[in-house]
């Protein structure tokens, strides 16, 4: 619909009523941001494929097993996001683009920048300094900047898809996850190519344990979540001065950078010996603050999203047979919705749980679509689905006391 260079580029001050109702898709061939995003992802894809082709030739077992293991790891994260209904925030292509940006676009540019910073540190200070502080100096600034650039491009591609903090945060988390997974896969293959034993399975298990299990929760997905909050705040508070909005965005970026810097730094390493148990304790001590910070940002975003959904549901979906009072209360509380599903599953069986899950998701889709298009033909499918699911669910939950 909207295109660059059109005569109607007058911005939001134009009477809103003149423009068609709806949200932009993430397929925007008329927008420069879309093509920049796509070009950088494709460029990164070639680089990544080229890099892994060497791994496949030298350590084929590691490469295949690594792909499998880190693929499953990604799916576990996606499962958590889905369980919390976070994937309802956008159509699937948004998450694919965010993940691909993190894993392909950002990784491609991160490699030379990190090498250059570490090279400069070695030349201007010393190789000893780089060995200790190189990862802390190079990684955070480069990687947080590049991951966030993808989030900004995605927001540019379809700005009106981002109505809440949560809608930006989940894209940031997905970009971070993409970076994390491809980086982990790359480390696994590289470690195997230089592993001191012929075994090709150990490097995968070792990296899964250290980078996946001990570090996974407080890694790139968490940092990019924090940095993305600044973008969300900038975007969703046009009533504040530009200086304030930029300051909040910079502050969030600085916080993400600081968390990443602490994680990459050698601090605390002297206090712990080299055993896996001690290493696990040290990683937890360094990583838990990042997880708590990311958790707080998620909490703020979920609350704001809840208030947003409540307001929309109250206005657009007043019918109680579509969203009952207790369901309305839980609209903005993904954990409570999950708890209800789980309790229904325990009490009334798996089918009841599945139906309740579908019902909750259809309600969310109804509210979001009503907000996008208003009630009418566009929302009818979801209204019918809700009524059908409720009819199917009712006998199951009434069968037992």
């Amino acid at each position: 619909m909207s295109s660059e260079g059109t005569e109607r580029l007058t911005g939001p001050e134009q009477d809103r009523g003149e423009w068609p109702v709806g949200t932009d898709s993430f397929w925007q061939p008329h927008r420069a941001a879309f093509w920049l995003l796509a070009a950088m992802i494709v460029n990164g894809l070639f680089y990544t494929v080229n890099m892994f082709s060497m791994g496949f030739r030298v350590v084929p077992v590691t490469a295949l097993l690594g792909l499998l293991v880190w693929g499953i790891y990604t799916l576990l994260f996606l499962l958590v996001f889905r369980t919390l209904d976070l994937l309802e925030q956008h159509p699937p292509e948004a998450f694919v683009l965010a993940f691909a940006w993190g894993g392909m676009g950002a990784v491609y540019f991160a490699a030379p920048a990190n090498i250059a910073i570490q090279g400069l540190c070695a030349k201007l200070v010393s190789p000893d300094f780089v060995a200790a502080w190189g990862p802390a100096i190079a990684g955070p600034i480069t990687e947080e900047f590049l991951k966030l650039a993808g989030v900004i491009l995605l927001v540019l591609v379809a700005r009106n898809q981002f109505q809440t903090y949560l809608s930006v945060l989940i894209v940031g988390a997905m970009a971070g996850l993409g970076f994390q997974v491809i980086e982990n896969l790359s480390y696994t293959v590289n470690a195997s190519m230089h592993f001191p034993l012929e075994n090709q399975v150990y490097p995968v298990l070792l990296n899964l344990f250290t980078r996946g299990l001990l570090s996974g929760l407080w890694s790139h997905a968490a940092y990019t979540t924090i940095a993305s909050f600044g973008v969300a705040w900038f975007l969703l508070h046009p009533e504040r001065s530009k200086l304030t909005r930029i300051a909040v965005a910079v502050l969030c970026f600085a916080l993400a950078w600081a968390m990443h810097f602490i994680w990459n730094s050698p601090w605390l390493e002297d206090l712990f010996d080299g055993s896996y148990r001690e290493m696990a304790v040290m990683l937890a001590v360094k990583g838990i603050p990042a997880m708590i910070a990311a958790g707080l940002f998620w909490r703020v975003a979920v609350r704001e999203n809840g208030a947003y959904l409540h307001a929309l549901a109250a206005y657009f979906v007043p019918e109680r047979e579509l969203i009952r009072d207790d369901e309305w209360m839980r609209l903005g509380a993904p954990l409570q919705r999950y708890k209800v599903r789980r309790e229904i599953g325990w009490t009334f069986g798996l089918r009841a749980r599945r139906l309740k899950t579908q019902l909750q998701r259809e309600q969310l889709r109804l509210v979001r679509k009503a907000m996008t298009y208003g009630r009418g033909a566009q929302t009818l499918r979801h209204e019918v689905a809700i009524r059908r699911l409720r009819t199917e669910l009712a006998p199951l939950v009434q069968a037992r006391p």
């Binding site: 709806g22 540019l156 034993l197």
Partner: protein, 186 residues
């Protein structure tokens, strides 16, 4: 009163251009700066240098590549188009350590050809291990590996470079290897 969202047109090229320029300036600027910052360090003649357990005397004219050396793990020396890389790591098993994997990395990963068979070598200091030669379209080289079971230490020495002046450089690489022992404290 909530209103349905509207598809209001807007320009993205200024924002996209700003992102592109920021990335180009950041990555390009750093790379340019790094490439134009000298990274060589002359080594004192007659004195030994060490990396991990390995200690040796650099030949005259060889300099240290600071950016490609990793403290305690590897030391890259170069002279003209020839490189002499000494890497150390803990030995964790196998009488020949990761020699087979090293060959596979060179053959399948770097598209190099192994020249002849793996052979044993012993230096005048009693350092012994395995060695093989290799070549590619633009370079040739020799790889030496020493496994010290007592110290559980692995030392790999990789010499390579362009064919021009290879024999002279190889003689100097051998002299550096001859001077090597594993008595350094890591």
């Amino acid at each position: 009163m909530p209103e349905p969202s509207r598809r209001i047109p807007y320009r993205t090229w200024p924002g996209a251009l700003a992102v592109l320029l920021a990335i180009a300036a950041y990555v390009g600027g750093l790379t340019f700066w790094n490439n134009h910052t000298p990274g060589t360090r002359p080594l004192p003649i007659g004195q030994t240098v060490s990396v991990g357990h390995a200690r040796f005397e650099p030949a005259a004219g060889w300099e240290m590549d600071v950016a490609r050396s990793k403290a305690g793990r590897s030391l890259m020396l170069f002279k003209g188009g020839h490189k002499f890389l000494v890497s150390t790591a803990p030995w964790v098993g196998g009488p020949d350590g990761p020699l087979v994997r090293q060959q596979r990395l060179m053959e399948r990963g770097q598209r190099l050809e192994i020249d002849g068979d793996i052979s044993d070598f012993v230096t005048s200091w009693g350092l012994q291990g395995k060695t093989f030669a290799y070549y590619g379209s633009k370079l040739a080289g020799r790889f030496w590996q020493v496994v010290d079971l007592q110290r559980k230490s692995l030392v790999q020495i990789d010499f390579y470079g362009a064919s021009d002046g290879l024999n002279e450089a190889m003689a100097e690489a051998r002299s550096m290897l001859e001077s090597m022992d594993l008595e350094a404290s890591p």
